[in-house]
Amino acid sequence: MINSKKPTSSLAITAVFNTAIALVLNFMVLKEPQFWDIFIISQLTGLSICFFVYTGIFISEKKLKKWMGGCIAAGMIIGIIVGGLLSWGYISFFQEFSAGYYYKQVFLKIAVFGVVFGIPIIYFFTAREKLIESEKRIQNEKIKRLSMEKEAAMTTLRLLQAQIEPHFLFNTLSNVISLFDIDVAKAKQMLIDVNEFLRISLTRTRQEMVTLSQELDLVRQYLDIFKIRMGKRLAYKIKNKTGRPDLLFPPLIVQPLVENAIKYGLEPKVEGGKITIDCRIEENVLSIEICDTGNGLDENASQAGIGINNISQRLESIYGTKAGLTLTQNYPSGIKAMIKVFL
């Protein structure tokens, strides 16, 4: 009934409510055939109450924040009085004075009905509207923040996709340059690996899906580069037991997890360690397990988490609830990342 944003619709709803009161009073309580009089009194009283209550809410919102209840009550009383005066005016103008007593009863009943049913309804609508408003605000806030985050994520994603992480590139190129003085064949091999890695990651920037084996090839390329850089500090094994060479999988899910494993797990660990990637399908569930024996998450947890959140979100946006990523502690050390997809 009361909607501070749309007073006209409030008045319309009130009018309907008044009509209902008039009908109820006329046919069930008074059982008199003076419907139009009762209808008009009902409208005058109801609309007047509604108008003044609305005014009360308006004043309380603008000026007297703490006196909402008081303003509504005051509005109600003024509404009843004004409604009463208007009704009385109507009756004395159009009807003979002797009918006054009878209509006073009608008016009182209307006022009581209006107040008894009106207050809870007003309360219900006001509360509901407040909630809708705060929900809307939450939504807006959420949308604003999400779109900002999305923008940030897109930037990160573009970087991830391009894979030209400066640290990676410069360190790798340093290695190649040094290798030319030490072992030309190895240097050549490394350049080929880098070239291949860059080609694959740059071209797939525009692809939604690749095959899992393509993704694993990229990972192998990436790990080969690190193998030359880290020497005996890095060992790795990639097993694809899915038996489905054409199985589609989104790019840049596995590779960033491997990158995390190297960056936060193995590179900072003095003795290095091993990365194992295991893919299989069991009962229509594809699982990809990426284990490292690195430092674990304790020290760099917050940094490592950035990538993880992106990957989780990416999985969710592609597969909905049909895919998930869990991270657990690997034994004896490091992290086990497990991707599961219901095919």
């Binding site: 929900e135 400066p166 003085d181 880290m230 590179e267 003095v270 917050s302 991270l327 502690q329």
Partner: protein, 254 residues
């Protein structure tokens, strides 16, 4: 004249060999006493051999190059090696600390070595090197300002699991534990709510009750109970979280 000695510390062997080869050509008289492949080895080596010069990579396992430098710069001239680190380079430049950028090329190394020789000839080292390195450390340290929590460590059976906070619907205190509720799971952790509040991003996680913190991204409905208490409901689960009166304003002032 006393012979000048040096050590090289880098976790990647090819890079150590590369630098050594360049040094042999550019400064044949320089004696490379040893090489280290991580920060701890580097520190041991420098303390044992007391070289005049230490070429130290910044990113090394064990101890970082900066941490090593902090301990040895009093008696050893440190030259940092870095692949790509704009902040570090800025810091080095402004404090005139010696550094080499990867990929290390002969020409670049030559420039650094000439500068170094001048300093060594000018009767050793300037006295304020420690101070400079301290400043560099400060600059590098500031960059790693504490970040908000992104992964919550939970125990499930015998497994330790890491749950991204973005997946958490709410944290709720329950006896001595805190419930971590996601759309699918419920975990228990020992970190109290008030400690979580300090490490979570306040823009995303709101304290709505003495005993609850909610992820506002996951809120689906805000409703009122029959007793007019505000409640928030979430995606995929059917119970809601009570918002105490003193926190209701959060949802009104957004």
């Amino acid at each position: 004249m006393k012979q000048v000695t040096a050590i090289i510390a880098d976790d990647e062997e090819n890079l150590r060999i590369g630098i050594k080869k360049h040094l042999e050509q550019l400064w044949p008289q320089l004696i490379v006493l040893g090489q280290a492949e991580n920060g701890i080895q580097a520190l041991d080596l420098i303390e044992k051999e007391k070289p005049d010069i230490a070429f130290i990579d910044i990113q090394m396992p064990g101890l970082t190059g900066v941490e090593v430098a902090q301990k040895v710069s009093a008696f050893c001239h440190v030259i940092f090696i870095t692949a790509y680190d704009q902040y570090a380079v800025q810091a080095f430049e402004s404090e005139a600390v010696d550094y080499i950028l990867k990929p290390v090329t002969k020409d670049r190394l030559q420039i650094t070595l000439l500068r170094l020789k001048k300093r060594l000839a000018a009767k050793g080292r300037t006295t304020d090197v420690d101070e400079k390195i301290q400043k560099v450390i400060q600059v590098l340290g500031n960059r790693q300002a504490p970040d908000y929590l992104r992964l919550v460590k939970v125990k499930t059976g015998s497994d330790l699991r890491f749950v991204p906070v973005s997946e958490v619907l709410y944290f709720k205190a329950e006896d001595k534990y805190t419930i971590v509720q996601t759309a699918i799971h419920e975990f228990l952790i020992k970190t109290p709510i008030k400690d979580l509040e300090t490490v979570l991003n306040p823009k995303q996680f709101w304290r709505v009750h003495r005993s609850a913190i909610v992820n506002i991204d996951k809120i689906q409905v805000i409703k009122r109970s029959f007793t007019n208490q505000m409640m928030v409901g979430f995606e995929r689960i059917d119970h809601s979280i009570l918002v105490s009166r003193s926190y209701e304003h959060l949802f009104k002032q957004m």
